[in-house]
Symmetry: C2
Subunit: 358 residues, 2 copies
């Protein structure tokens, strides 16, 4: 089945084409939802979505890739539904995604995102915080309004999935923040296992929710919804692993972030955690990480650290982990999808996640 999906994919739209098609279906509903907000939070939200610049000028192409909404719509198609059925779910997950970016940037003190000032930097902490809250409220509203055609227990299941996802998201975010206080090496160092649990919450839960809602809103039976939720979660942890590789080795011109950004920020990412556990090499890396970055040889230190992580196979182990999660996701698709053609669009999206450059 998986082989068949791969072959079919050659004649199907690319992941970018699928995401663009989904965006055209979801964008009007998303904008309508945000429009009802008080102007002061709506402006922040429009900026965060990339719909406009700081001065309010509309932007032609903005915002993120729309991976989560696309995942919801393509999953709906893969179980034999119409993509329109999944639009409330797509709207909800995209709102939650931008909510989490708004609040994460405040928590992390990040001043740049997608080559622009972050919202808190541009509008102040208070307005960015409130705009995040607004998007979270709207996410719930998206799943309780305009769903009158659905059986009530589908609506209940959808809001329950969203609730579980939000709790996981927050717990994952808290775990990620708590990792910052842990030592690089030794018995209290962050393990790969702990990291994987954190990433499942921080990133996996929302992609799982996107796929699960897509299946649910398309009317799929509960076991299919559960399988699609797991599929999305695997895709999410693969996504996070690739994100971690890009956080160190991504091209600044493409990612919009400085080279070695996650090393500068001393982020405990997967390549680093793998490398730190590699005996003497790990110890050497830990010593480099303890050096201050305000000296003349800081760039050399970062280069050297990145090179040692590679030497300790931190990058290849991370890539292998991403590939394993991705393969599991694609295999799951082969067992539960009823519409192979539509499912191959999902596979293309999954492959895009693993191969992306930003």
């Amino acid at each position: 089945m998986t082989e068949h999906l791969h072959r079919t994919a050659l004649t199907r739209p690319t992941a970018l084409e699928s995401m663009e098609r989904c965006r055209e279906l979801v964008d009007p509903a998303l904008r309508r939802t945000v429009h009802g907000l008080h102007r002061d939070v709506r402006d922040v939200a429009a900026y965060a979505f990339g719909w406009c610049d700081l001065d309010g000028t509309a932007r032609a192409a903005g915002g993120g890739k729309g991976l989560r909404p696309a995942l919801a719509l393509l999953t709906a198609e893969a179980v034999g539904g119409r993509p329109e059925a999944a639009v409330p779910g797509a709207v909800a997950v995209e709102l939650v995604h931008v909510f989490s970016l708004l609040h994460d940037d405040i928590m992390d003190g990040d001043e740049q995102r997608r080559h622009r000032e972050t919202a808190w930097k541009a509008f102040g902490v208070g307005r960015a915080l409130l705009a995040g809250d607004a998007l979270l409220a709207l996410a719930l509203a998206a799943l309780t309004e305009n769903v009158g055609h659905l059986p009530p227990n589908a609506v209940t299941a959808a809001t329950a999935l969203l609730a579980d996802t939000l709790v996981e998201l927050v717990n994952g975010q808290a775990a990620d923040a708590a990792f910052e206080l842990r030592p690089w090496t030794g018995p209290r160092a962050v393990t790969v296992h702990e990291y994987t649990g954190m990433a499942a919450g921080k990133t996996g839960a929302l992609l799982g929710c996107a796929a699960g809602l897509g299946a649910l809103l398309a009317g799929a039976p509960a076991p299919t919804v559960a399988a699609m939720t797991r599929m999305g979660r695997d895709l999410g942890t693969a996504f996070q692993a690739v994100d971690d590789l890009l956080g160190i080795w991504g091209d600044p011109a493409v990612t919009g972030k400085p080279v070695f950004n996650d090393l500068r920020r001393r982020k405990k990412t997967l390549p680093l955690i793998h490398a730190l556990s590699a005996g003497a090499l790990g110890q050497e890396i830990a010593e480099l990480l303890d050096r201050p970055l305000d000296t003349a040889d800081a760039e050399w230190t970062l280069h050297r650290t990145a090179a040692l992580i590679r030497k300790a196979d931190g990058d290849t182990q991370t890539a292998a982990q991403a590939r394993r999660d991705l393969d599991r996701a694609v295999a799951a698709l082969g067992t539960v999808t009823t519409h192979p053609g539509a499912a191959s669009d999902l596979v293309a999206l999954a492959e895009f996640v693993a191969d992306r450059r930003h």
Copy 2:
């Protein structure tokens, strides 16, 4: 009917006794819900609920009055249900209440609440923000878990009510913040009408949600749920008006805030908005409000401002508005409650809201 309720109330428990009884029913569920969070956010939540001090020591009597959970439970009883049925709703509204306190204190930069440091001051902005998000996520979870005994469309109606409430809450908060930038007097001054709309969102919506969820979870029909929601909203705007009076004239020993606190903060509260519209007196007040507060005569200025607000009937007009909203709430109770005895506990709670000293 109303007269009857008032008479019955003499032999019924006081509002404080009712709140204590409700707290005993809700507290275990609330603590269980919060317990599942990551330790780093759970600790902040426990502090914000007043369950423990900064060092983790348990506090005997802490936290707020529990008005919102009590409103949910007493409403359930007033429509003939058991209070236990409303516990998920009580948990949800109390979680939303503490979420809003956590985030509001960050937005307003407030450093003290209930005689203690605010959570962001004690734990940092990042952890307080994330704890707020966590409580909001749990509020939704409270309404989608442990409600298997309810018909699915009751669960759907409950989550829809919560969603609408959250959107109103955020819009009310945004409107309140936007008022800060408006002039004291003239055509662009904040009107009583605008203020009332803001208070309906910021405070009315959540009390309406508490009463509405109480009725809904007790199995009341839709018109009763709607009437109880409106009743709670009226109670909420009365509550806000009394809060505004206490914000200026409340006893610091009781409120835990400095005397004339809202005048110091230049908050556009209802007594002030009423007074500012009073011709020459309003102009005199506006001029006092423009004086800097870092001078030796600052306390005199505040005293004088407060006295002029009284002279312009800002306090009596506010009290009258609170009384009108309260009377409307009590009258509504008379028309929809099926259990007069239980309803009289609600009336006692309503009267407590209007007569409270903190």
